[in-house]
Amino acid sequence: MSTLLAVDGLDVTFDRHRVLADLSLHVQAGEILGIIGETGSGKTTLARAVVGLSPVRAGRITFEGTDLTALRGKARRAWRRAGQVQYVFQDPLRALDPQHTVARIVAEGLVVAGTLDRAAIDARVRAALAQVGLDQSLAARLPGQISGGQRQRVLLARAVALQPRLLLCDEPVSALDASNRNHVLRLLADLRDRSGVTVVVISHDLSSLAGIADRVAVLYGGRLVEQGPIGRVLSEPRHPYTALLTASAPSVRREHPIPARALRPAPDHRPVAAFGPDACSYASRCPFATQACVTAPSTAGSEWSVACHHADAWRSRLAVGAMSTRRTA
C-alpha cells in the first residue's frame, strides 16, 4: 500500500491558541482510517486543515506529492475543482443551502468544475444519489423537506458525485440513531470496496467504527497519542487515554476489562508537576503522569505507534482491586 495523504509536523493556531501541535499522520491508499478524540481534541481542525480551511502555521500536508499547504490562488482553485479530496461537513443542516434542491446541491461541485455538460452532470447526480441509497424522487426536495438521515446522505452524495480519491467525513453519524448510523458507515465501507476511495472518518462511536475501519488515530489536546490497527488498538490500548475511551464506551453486554474509574484521575488528583504547553497533552489529566511527562513524548513504533512515556508501564500500576468489572447489578 502506498501513502495517499501525508501530514507531517502540522501546527495549527487560532488566536494564539495551539489547536494542533506537531501532528504527523499518514493515510494509506484504499484504507479506512478512523479518527477519535473528545470535543476540542483537534479532529475537525485536522480534517479542515487538509482541505485548506484551517490556518496552518507549520508543517506539510502532501497528497501524492502535491504540497497542499503551498497551494494559493489559481492553483488552489484548480486543485479544488479537480475534486480529488472531498470534505463532508458535520452538520448537514448548516452545510446544505436551504434554498437549493437536493439535485442542485449534489450537482454543485460538478457545475463549478465545468468539465461536464448538463446531461452528464444529471447522470452523475442520479448515480451519486443511487450510490448513497437515496430515492431519485428526493432530487426535487429542499433540505428542510427530508429527514436527518437523508440529509446526511445528501452531503455524502455531493462529495461522491465528484468521484474523489480521498473522502474526509466529519462526524457523519453523530446525529443519527443506531440503524441509520450503521447504514451510513456501511455506505462508506461499500464506497471503499467498490470504488477504491480512501476514507477518513471522524467518529465517537468506537464500536461501529471498529466494524468498518482498518486503522484508528487517537487525538488528545491537539496531539496524536496513539495510532494503529483499530482492532488491536481498541482491545489492547497502549495509551491511557485510549484505554479510558474504550472503557467509557457504553455497551449492551461487555464487561469492561478495566473499569473507566481506574483510568480517571482521583477526585483529589493534583498534577505531579506544572505541565506547560510542551508537556504531554494528556499529562494534567493522566493518573499515571510523572515528572517525565513535562516533555512531550516522542511517537514510537510505525505500524502501531503510541506517544506515552509510560506506554509499557502504566498497566502494572493499575491496582488489582480496580480490575473487577464495574457493572454492579
Partner: protein, 336 residues
Amino acid sequence: MTTLLSRPAPVAVAKPDPAPPKRRSRRWIGTLATPVVVFVFSSLLTFGLGALSPSNPAAAVLGETATPADIARMNHEFGLDRPLPVQYVDWLFSALRGDLGRSYFTTIPVADSIFAALPVDLALAGLAILLAVLIGGAAGIGAALRQGGRLDRTVTAVASALGTLPPFVLGIGLIIIFSVLLKALPAGGYVPLENGLGQWLRFAILPALALSLDIAASIARQLRTSLVGQLGENYVTGAVVRGLGTRRVLFGHALRNAIGPALTVLGIGVPMILGGAVVTEKIFNLPGLAQLALQASGQHDVPLIQGTLLVTVTVVLICNTLVNIAVLRLTPQGKR
C-alpha cells in the same frame, strides 16, 4: 495506588482553568470607550457639514456691500482662513471647554443660547422616556403573556397604527382631546421645573406623551417578541420543571433576558425622541433646543447649527451609554 482502590466520585475534568473574567472586563472597556470614539466621528461629521457650507458666512453677515478686504478681515477674525484640520481641532477643543463659538448674527455665545434651551428638552425627554418605558413595558409584557389573546391583538394593532401616523398628528390629536374638548390641560406653553412639579407636569405631560407613544409602541413590540422567544427557550422549561412558579420564572428568569433588546430599542429611540421634539416643540410652542435649531437653520447660522447638533449628539451618546451599561449588567454573558 490506594486511591484507585477506594471508590471515588466521578470527576469532571474540564477546561484547564476556568474563570476568564478578562472578557467581561474587555466588554466594559468597549462599552465605555466606544462612545468617545463615536463622539469624535460625530464631531467630524458636524464640523464637516459646516465646512461644506456653500455660502461664505462673512459675506452673508456683512451683506452685499462688503468689500473683499472686509470679508477677509472677518474670515480672519472667525479663524476661517486657517487649514481645515487646524480649525477642526481648535473647534473641538473649544467645544470640550464649553465654548461653541458665537452666532454669526446675534454674536451671542452659542453655548449660552443652547444651555438656556436645553433644560426644557432634557426634562421633556426624561418624562417621555419614563412614559415610554411604563406604557411600552406593560403593554409588551401583557401581550406576551396573553399571546394570541385579545390584549395581544389590541397591543399589536395599536402599535402598528402608531407606526403609520405622522408624529405631529399625534400631538395635535392630544391637544384636540385634552385641551379643546376636555379643557383639562393647556394647549401649549411651558413653565420650568423650578416652578413646581405639578405646574410643570400640566404643561409637559401632553408633549411628553406625544413624544413617547411612538417609542412605547416599538418597546411593546420588541418586548413582546423577545419575551415570547425567551418563554420558548429550554431554560424556561427547565425552570418550570424545577417548580419555580410562574411569577419567578417570568420575572426572575425570562424577563431578565428579554429586556435587553427592548432596552436597545429604547437606546435607538432616544434620537427619535430628540428629533420628534422639534415637531412637538413647534406644536406646543415650547422654548426648546429644536426651536433654536429651526431658527438657526432659517438664518444659515452655521455655529449655532453645529452647536445644537453637537449637543444633541452628546445627549444621545450619554443616553446610549447608560442603556448599554444597563444591558451589560443584565446579561453578563454577552451576545449569544
